[in-house]
């Protein structure tokens, strides 16, 4: 059986420095994959390579059996969408205008906005609960609102695979929970495959299906998410001692960086 996404020996070298070396992994349709690893491990670079923002130095990427590197950028944007880690305030755009722009890949300069676009947009707005601020300006949004708008725009692209670069890193706990619930809903109810770069190993272990862990541009650990939370794995990945406890309500294992060590 062929995989939904097949990444084979992808490397990235910039100025003779290997940022990623021989990354290979497969992903099935409907999977929720988290990429973990210390800062500078190359997590974001991998997402950017998948999206076509930076070119890979070598390796192949197949998505639904077509070679992603052969696709035009427009064709690629119909297969993959991307929520960047940080984004500038788009000062003079309304939220609605910004989300509409995400339909770029389905249009040429002369084609009109049609029913399918409207449907895609309404659906994206409904799922992300962004109706209330469609008319607001992008620069008036709070961090949590902006993140939901960014996800709405990516959904508007109607792609089978969604790439998220640390979607909750800059959010307070309430909005972290909100965004994570939204991501799980996309994955489970709308059957969108997800690759999420994250530092939240507890969340990743509990809610994603697979984890790919990088260290210094190499795969350090790859497997079923719930198997990650073991002292040896985490210690090797982050060079840091961890202690373990269980969640008082769910009984799930929780790892904590041990500040006493």
């Amino acid at each position: 059986m062929t995989s939904f996404l097949d990444v084979n020996n992808v490397s990235l070298t910039i100025d003779n420095k290997a940022l990623l070396s021989d990354i290979s992994f497969q992903m099935q349709s409907g999977d929720y994959l988290c990429i973990l690893g210390p800062n500078g491990a190359g997590k974001s670079s991998l997402l950017k390579i998948l999206m076509g923002i930076i070119p890979a130095s070598s390796g192949t990427i197949h998505l639904q059996e077509s070679n992603v590197l052969d696709l035009s950028q427009k064709q690629r944007a119909q297969q993959l969408s991307y929520v960047p880690q940080s984004h500038k305030g788009l000062l003079h755009f309304s939220v609605e205008e910004f989300i509409k722009m995400a339909r770029y890949a389905y249009h040429s300069a002369l084609s009109d906005w049609h029913g399918q676009d409207k449907q895609a947009m309404e659906r994206a707005v409904e799922i992300t609960h962004t109706e209330a601020f469609l008319q607001r300006q992008m620069n008036t949004l709070s961090g949590g609102e902006a993140q939901r708008v960014m996800i709405a725009a990516a959904l508007c692209q109607q792609t089978p695979l969604l790439l998220l670069d640390e979607p909750t890193s800059f959010l307070d706990p309430r909005h972290q929970v909100e965004v994570h619930q939204l991501i799980r809903e996309l994955n489970q109810q709308h059957n969108i495959s997800i690759i999420e770069v994250s530092h939240d190993f507890n969340h990743a272990a509990q809610h994603s299906q697979h984890i790919l862990a990088f260290k210094n541009g190499k795969t350090q650990w790859y497997g079923v998410s719930k198997d990650l939370l073991q002292a040896a794995h985490l210690q090797a990945l982050y060079d840091q001692d961890f202690v373990f406890t269980t969640h008082p309500q769910t009984g799930a294992t929780i790892a904590l960086a041990n500040e006493l060590s």
Binding site: K48, M51, G52, I53, S72, Q73, K74, Q75, R76, A77, Q78, L80, S81, Y82, P84, H87, K88, L90, L91, H92, F93, S94, E97, F98, M101, A102, Y104, A105, H107, A109, A154, Q157
Partner: protein, 320 residues
Amino acid sequence: MKPITVLIVVIISTLAIVCISPYLGLQSGSAEIQHHILTQLRIPRILFTFLAGSGLALCGMVFQAMFHNPLATPFTLGVASGASLGAAIYVYLGFSFSLFGLDGGTFAAFTGALLAISFVYAVSRYQNGFSPETLLLTGVAISFFFSSLILFTQYLSNLNDSFEIMRWLMGSLTTVGYHDVLQLLPFVTICTAVILWLSRELNLLMAGDDIAISRGMPVHTIRYLLFFVTSLCVGAIVALCGPIGFVGMMVPHICRLLVGGNHRWLIPTTLLFGGSFLIICDTIARLIIAPAEIPVGVITTLLGGPFFLWLLIKSKTRLS
């Protein structure tokens, strides 16, 4: 106000400005002389000024979108000084040729403009991204460098050529005829057409490269194309009337405040506003110490300097 309302107001004001300004300062002389001044001097001058103002404003708008920077214009990035240097060298070398009915000076200015922008682009690419500080400093550095080369060229030139170069640098619309209008028309038209065609791409560029690429836009191809047409347009304008400063920075900002950032509305508004703004400046330059004239570049720079500072202070407070 809705963008469409603003656009209609701008269209009406533009028509009024274009129709009224030729008659201002036209009191003396017989009817025959007045008629001659109107048809042979004023009308071509108004048409030319409109084209130059529109072109500069549109190019400024494109630069601001491309570099995600409110201070990026053909001027702050050294493109205009590149074009000026090209034109100055052309005058100094005393070449005289024309291609397809276009003056050799236009080609020289165009080459200078393209050279300057390629340099700025290469430096910011080398720096791995478009940091606003690097970009502006590169632009300033290249402006100084080219300015001293212009001075050097001027120093080497004889008195006539030197005066001709000097007149260019002040930015003047005084000696314009229908011939100049026809020279400028194709450049501004092509540039405007390409910019209109790429209005969706310009919107995406405002959102940053990563988002633009992830939406499916071939960012680098589009950027090269935009560089090419804007250099073409700025090169032609500078060759014909000198580096008229700050139009390209002020007008797009004012228009963005009026109609928002969506280029669908921003492009037509900037086009009309830029044209009429320069006509107003030129009319002031013509009337303020009549019968003598001040170079229009002096007026736009007098207005633009304070505006630039205001923008700098404003964007600083927003960043912190």
